[in-house]
């Protein structure tokens, strides 16, 4: 029912029903294309019968040493395809690639602290809140850094929550 394949440029012309949703950001072209040029394995689209775009996931792999990890930049599903675990499938795919191909220690993502439905969903997918990043979103709203350990992190060290919140300056890759 769902075909998941690598995202390609032409999909940018077909994802309007997904991106018109107010929670889905439409980035500039260099953003999408940089992800496509650098991490094509981390950018997938899901299609329904009739080639309708259901949703997509974009991400990357980054970090050094034990913080070598997959990162979910965006995951989104069109309204008509919600409530059927598509986001889960897409997330699992990215986790799989981080785990098996890139041998990363964990996968992480950032979410607005107010976005309760999303936080709940990520928790269901076994992500834990690793730390709070103060005023991460345009200096206004806090972000939550959520993580899920992968098989390489045997002791699951990467997901032990930090006790205090951090500021955006303290982020490793800023």
């Amino acid at each position: 029912m769902t075909t998941i394949r690598r995202f390609c440029c032409d999909d940018l012309l077909r994802f309007s029903s997904v991106n018109l949703d107010h929670l889905t950001e439409t980035f500039n072209m260099s953003f999408y294309m940089t992800y496509l040029a650098r991490w094509p394995d981390y950018f997938h689209v899901a299609e329904a019968p009739g080639n309708r775009v259901m949703g997509y996931i974009m991400g990357k792999v980054e970090g050094q040493g034990e913080s070598w990890h997959g990162h979910v930049t965006a995951v989104t599903v069109a309204p008509e395809f919600r409530r059927q675990q598509l986001a889960k499938k897409l997330m699992n795919l990215l986790e799989d690639i981080s785990d098996k191909i890139d041998k990363a220690y964990f996968v992480d993502l950032f979410v607005r602290a107010s976005n309760t439905p999303a936080i709940k969903m990520y928790e269901k997918l076994e992500y834990v809140i690793y730390r709070r990043v103060l005023r991460y979103y345009s200096g206004e709203e806090d972000g939550l850094d959520m993580r899920k350990a992968l098989s390489r992190d045997v002791e699951r060290k990467s997901i032990i929550p930090l006790k205090r919140p951090v500021t955006p300056d303290e982020l490793e890759y800023d």
Binding site: L20, T26, S30, A37, P49, G63, F81
Partner: protein
């Protein structure tokens, strides 16, 4: 022991060298200014969380045994900032083993972050500490100060091209483009003169950036070409040159330089750069397919000696073979050692299956696809491939690799290979058994593929003539009971419904309805099933033939269901979609259909009310916004439509796919400022992409994602050929002329910026060979306007058995050819205007015959008019004849109304040409000519007829005010420009004095000036007539219009069976009875804030605003005409 100072110093120096060297060899010191968007294009992993770091290149320099010279390119790399220093080390895991990890080179896009020290502490041959203040000033945008500092720097280093390049960069940032270019060219000349040991890369990259920003890619390229010529075998410079060719899309040169690099370094990636460049020649250039053979040969040779190390390299190799139809070879490669490069098993299987199918080995391919399905049981496309291979059916066979849009056709006109009955039966039963197996393995998992697969099998059986509708319906009902609550259900099964005969469709509907009653699932699921049932009804066109009363019944039922189910959404976050949201869109669809049928505006108003209430409850529903923007556009409340459009936050690539909802209406509206903003925003986005696209392509090269290289170039070409982009360019220029037409000088300067309209002539000539692309996403348009040039509501009601969406494919084709023709035609306008102004002016001067340029203008205008008449679908002479017979009343104006604006534009330009031409334009030699009087008569007739048929906007939705707007802003405006040109030339001031002399000329000039005077009066009268009508509309009290609107939905006046008002009644009941305990505080407050009267008032106000804008345009024109009257 005495302290040996010298020894100590030597030791210290030695130690320092080791430390520095190791730092340079193992780390890159990158300096990222905080908050700046920085992108590192390297093989390692240093990017920001929030964005991507922006440095153009960091690449490994390989010291090849073949070229000891390349040692030179072990440039120390140091990128720094006063804000933040960050040491970055390369992550070993991401690098292929073949690369020595120690040698890297970084080139920053912004030279601020570039290799600041080609030699230690040196920047472009100047001590870095002297350059730093200049950069600091640039960084803080103190360009004046930066310029001063750079002048000082230049006085100390007059022979430094780097210092000059910096100055050019500052000038460019200050917007002094010409000066920047000349300084940059000086820097380039200096670079050529300086006999340096090594051409400094920082200087080169700085020059490159400035040249690129000044649109002189060729000069940047020649700098690198020069450097490469001077220092052959320097890989660093060669990569820079390769990048230049990528920017210029010079595929052949890309290939040549890549091959050179490959020969020097022997590296796999350079070979693949060359191979990609070859593929680009074949797919995007004019290279023949034979080149692919060459590429294949190159790869084969390399594989024999070095094998391949990158998965993408293998993909390229396979695609090369596939493109040459060497499927067998490709399969062999994939199943050999190289196949292990593809690490995801299903990916490999998919390629294998595709290759087998394309080679005609359907059995083998089916086996492979079966394996994929076992691993990914929910993969619908794979199932179609599987079934396609089993049944040897062309439609569902996999397409060529890298064909980005894999369209699996679901239509019935597939080419079936002729399987015998027995073979067909056995293949089908194999498929059925396999699907059963998948189903049992899936268990309670919510995957839908096996169920859907069963439906597809039944469908294929029916197509083959061995199916049975009962079975298909049975399966559909089963599928419905499991998944009918999902929002996508109806779209999923659309293809299966299509195959059922009409009576079966009706039966199915009844059965589905019954199956809801008997189900005992949760209320949310029941709600979902009801929604699906309505959607299926909509889909099969069940509602079109129903009597009005029944349709009203459905609308009422759906609105009630929306209201009743609000409590289900009580605890939802405002961001989440609510249960039953779609009921309101569907109610709107029915109400609009009722309006189309009965022409009762109440229904249309109700449609708006329903959606507005929905938006009050949850303001994020884009589906409502799109429907509303079309309804408001139709009802001439364009400012409100535009507001709804803006709330969709359409930006970036969505501008290309979503703007069609608003652009066409706006282009013919009086909202000149808004449309100008829209066009500018869109063009800016496209132009920016075209500028940066090549750099992104190079990024793909850098990261060895070769398939993306081809994809990016093809995508850029697709956008460049976008019909909407071309429309925006042409219409933007015409708009600019419209907005500046009150002053002929300003209009002329606009024309000058358009190369006097000549550039667009080329557009017009080349358009047919250009193969325009149409990237608009039309799927989201409402049913009544499936494409942007079609609106069913404007025509008479036709009973349809299906929703008009069924005809979409045909409509789209028609629209596409129409759009192409329109661009072709509209591209002629700027030049026509320019030439008309010229001819008008020389007619007054009376020098048409004497001056060669003038007669050239005249004959060009004639030939353009001949081209233009093509769009009137008449030969030139016939068109002239028709116009003249309309103007003198022999024929009615109605013969021109199908494209009135084109006819009137033609008449206006024809007059301008006639002014200056002695040539008779009638084939039989009669002296029937267009003249001032006739043009005015035509324009007057057009304006009057439009005003006569105009009605008050409130009570007559769909009335086409845009024709009147276009009359005023186009033919009347162009005519006004021609008059201005004549008046200016006739002024006896200074040099403008007429040169012709002689009594005859004087006499004819008096005649001319009388005609012009009369024309001014006539034009004034026309616009005055429009203004009066507008004022009459604007000055009507809003309340009166609101009352008229509201009375249209007053239920009491309507009969029991049908009639508008019933849906609004439900909404009003909801407002008065909503209970916060039931629906929650948020929804309750929102519902309570909604008032029907507010909706009506907002619309009437918006209609008034649009008319006021139009009135302002008219009044400004009248002022200009007053002025002209005094001048002559």
């Amino acid at each position: 022991m005495p302290f040996d100072f010298l020894l100590f110093w030597k030791l210290l120096h030695f130690f320092w060298l080791i430390v520095s060297a190791s730092r340079l060899l193992f780390n890159i010191v990158a300096v990222l200014k905080k908050g700046e968007d920085i992108r590192i294009l390297d093989d390692a992993n240093f990017y920001t969380k929030t964005g991507i770091l922006q440095i153009e290149q960091i690449f490994p320099i390989v010291q090849s045994p073949k070229s000891p010279n390349s040692k030179q390119s072990l440039t120390p790399v140091c990128v720094y900032s006063r804000f933040q220093l960050r040491y970055l080390s390369f992550n070993k895991e991401r690098l292929p083993p073949s690369y020595p990890r120690s040698r890297f080179l970084a080139v920053a896009k912004n030279p601020r972050y570039s290799i600041m020290a080609s030699k230690f502490g040196m920047a472009g041959g100047i001590p870095e500490r002297r350059v730093r203040p200049v950069w600091d000033a640039i960084d803080s945008r103190q360009f004046k100060n930066a310029l001063k500092l750079s002048t000082t720097l230049l006085s100390k280093y007059p022979n430094s091209s780097y210092a000059l390049a910096l100055k050019a960069l500052i000038l460019e940032r200050m917007g002094k483009l010409e000066e920047a270019l000349s300084v940059c060219i000086n820097a380039k000349d200096l670079l050529y003169k300086n006999d340096l040991i090594l051409i400094d890369d920082l200087t080169l990259s700085t020059l490159q950036i400035v040249f690129q920003r000044l649109d002189h890619l060729d000069m940047a390229t020649s700098c690198y070409e020069y450097a490469c010529g001077k220092f052959p075998n320097n890989l660093e410079l060669m990569m820079g040159l390769f990048n230049c060719y990528v920017r210029e899309y010079s595929f052949v040169k890309q290939q040549q330089i890549a091959i050179k690099m490959y020969k020097i370094a022997g590296e796999e990636r350079f070979l693949l750069w060359a191979v990609c460049s070859i593929q680009l020649q074949v797919f995007c250039g004019n290279g023949g397919e034979k080149l692919l053979q060459l590429a294949e040969g190159l790869l084969k040779k390399h594989i024999a000696s070095h094998s391949l190390h990158e998965p993408e390299a293998l993909s390229v190799y396979i695609s090369l073979l596939e493109q040459q139809a060497k499927y067998g070879d490709a399969t062999e490669v994939l199943s050999g050692n190289l196949g292990s490069l593809i690490m995801i098993e299903v990916d490999k299987l998919r390629i294998q299956g595709r290759l087998l199918a394309r080679a005609g080995d359907y059995g083998g391919a089916a086996d492979i696809f079966q394996k994929v399905l076992t691993l990914c049981p929910d993969d619908w496309e794979c199932f179609l491939h599987y079934l396609g291979c089993l049944l040897e059916d062309d439609c569902s066979l996999p397409m060529v690799a890298n064909s980005p849009l894999i369209q699996v056709s679901t239509s019935m006109d597939c080419q079936h290979r002729h399987l015998t009955d027995d073979v067909f039966d056995s293949r089908i039963s194999r498929a059925s058994e396999f699907v059963e197996k998948l189903k049992s393995e899936a268990g309670s998992d919510s995957i839908r593929n096996p169920d859907l697969a069963n439906l597809e099998i039944e469908r294929r059986k029916i197509i083959f003539g061995k199916g049975n509708y009962d079975k298909l319906m049975e399966d559909l009902i089963l599928f419905f009971t499991r998944f009918g609550h999902l929002a996508c259900f109806s779209a999923d099964v659309a293809v299966f419904l299509q195959i059922l005969p009409d009576d079966r469709k009706k039966q199915l509907l009844e059965k589905l309805a019954k199956s809801i009653d008997s189900s005992s699932t949760s209320s949310k699921n029941v709600l979902g099933q009801h929604l699906t049932l309505f959607k299926i009804r909509e889909l099969i066109g069940d509602m079109f033939p129903l009597p009005e009363g029944d349709l009203v019944g459905f609308a009422v039922q759906m609105t009630e269901m929306y209201c009743e189910n609000l409590p289900l959404s009580k605890d939802l976050d405002v961001q989440e979609s609510m249960y039953g949201e779609e009921f309101l869109s569907m109610t709107c669809n029915i109400l609009v259909q009722l309006f189309w049928r009965t022409k009762h505006i109440g229904y249309l108003l109700e449609a708006i009310m329903v959606l507005e209430l929905g938006l009050t409850v949850r303001r994020y529903v884009w589906q409502y916004k799109i429907l509303l923007l079309h309804l408001y556009s139709y009802w001439n409340a364009l400012p409100l439509a535009y507001e709804r459009y803006k709330s969709l936050d359409v930006k970036n690539i969505l501008l290309e796919t979503v703007s069609h909802h608003i652009l066409p209406q706006m282009l013919t509206s009086p909202l000149l400022v808004d449309i100008s903003d829209l066009l500018k925003g869109y063009s800016r986005f496209m132009d920016e992409h075209f500028k940066e696209s090549a750099d992104l392509t190079f990024l793909a090269y850098r990261h060895r994602n070769y398939s993306k290289v081809i994809e990016f170039v093809q995508f850029k070409e697709r956008l460049q050929r976008s019909s909407q982009y071309l429309t925006a360019k042409v219409e933007g220029s015409i708009l600019n002329l419209k907005r500046n037409a009150n002053s002929i000088e300003e209009a002329e300067s606009v024309l000058e910026s358009l190369n006097f309209g000549s550039d667009f002539l080329d557009v017009s000539n080349e358009i047919q060979s250009k193969k325009l692309t149409f990237n608009e996403d039309l799927q989201l348009r409402p049913w009544w306007t499936p494409t942007y040039d079609k609106n069913y509501l404007s025509g008479p009601y036709e009973s349809m058995s299906k929703y008009p969406r069924e005809n979409l494919r045909n409509d789209v084709k028609q629209t596409e050819s129409k759009v192409t023709r329109t661009i072709e035609k509209r591209s002629l306008l700027p030049r026509l205007i320019y030439l008309s102004i010229q001819c008008a002016s020389s007619s007054v001067k009376g020098n048409s015959v004497i001056n060669g340029i003038d007669s050239k203008h005249s004959s060009e205008l004639k030939s353009l008019l001949e081209s233009y008449s093509k769009y009137l679908q008449l030969p030139f002479h016939d068109a002239v004849e028709l116009l003249i017979s309309v103007s003198n009343g022999q024929k009615p104006l109605e013969v021109l109304t199908s494209n009135l604006i084109d006819w009137m534009n033609f008449a206006v330009f024809l007059n301008a040409w006639n002014l200056n031409s002695t040539e008779s334009n009638n084939s039989d030699g009669n002296t029937f000519r267009m003249n001032w009087e006739l043009v005015c008569s035509l324009l007057e007739q057009s304006v009057s007829s439009k005003i006569k048929t105009a009605k008050p906007l409130g009570s007559s939705p769909g009335i086409d005010v845009s024709i009147l707007v276009q009359l005023v802003t186009e033919p009347l405006t162009w005519h006004g420009l021609i008059i201005q040109s004549c008046v200016r030339s006739s002024l006896p001031s200074g040099k403008k004095k007429k040169k012709g002399g002689g009594g005859h000329s004087d006499q004819s000039n008096t005649q001319l000036s009388n005609s012009i005077k009369n024309s001014i009066l006539s034009l004034h009268k026309m616009i005055d007539e429009v203004t009066k009508w507008l004022k009459e509309q604007i000055e009507k009290p809003v309340d009166g219009d609101v009352d008229i609107l509201l009375s249209s939905i007053n239920c009491e006046q309507n009969n029991d069976v049908g009639g508008p008002g019933k849906v609004v009644k439900i909404l009003e009941r909801l407002v008065s009875s909503v209970d916060d305990v039931e629906v929650g505080d948020r929804i309750c407050q929102a519902v309570k804030s909604w008032k029907a009267v507010d909706v009506a008032r907002k619309m009437v106000t918006a209609q008034g605003t649009a008319l006021t804008e139009f009135c302002n345009v008219c009044e400004s024109k009248m002022k200009v005409l007053q002025g002209l009257k005094l001048q002559i």
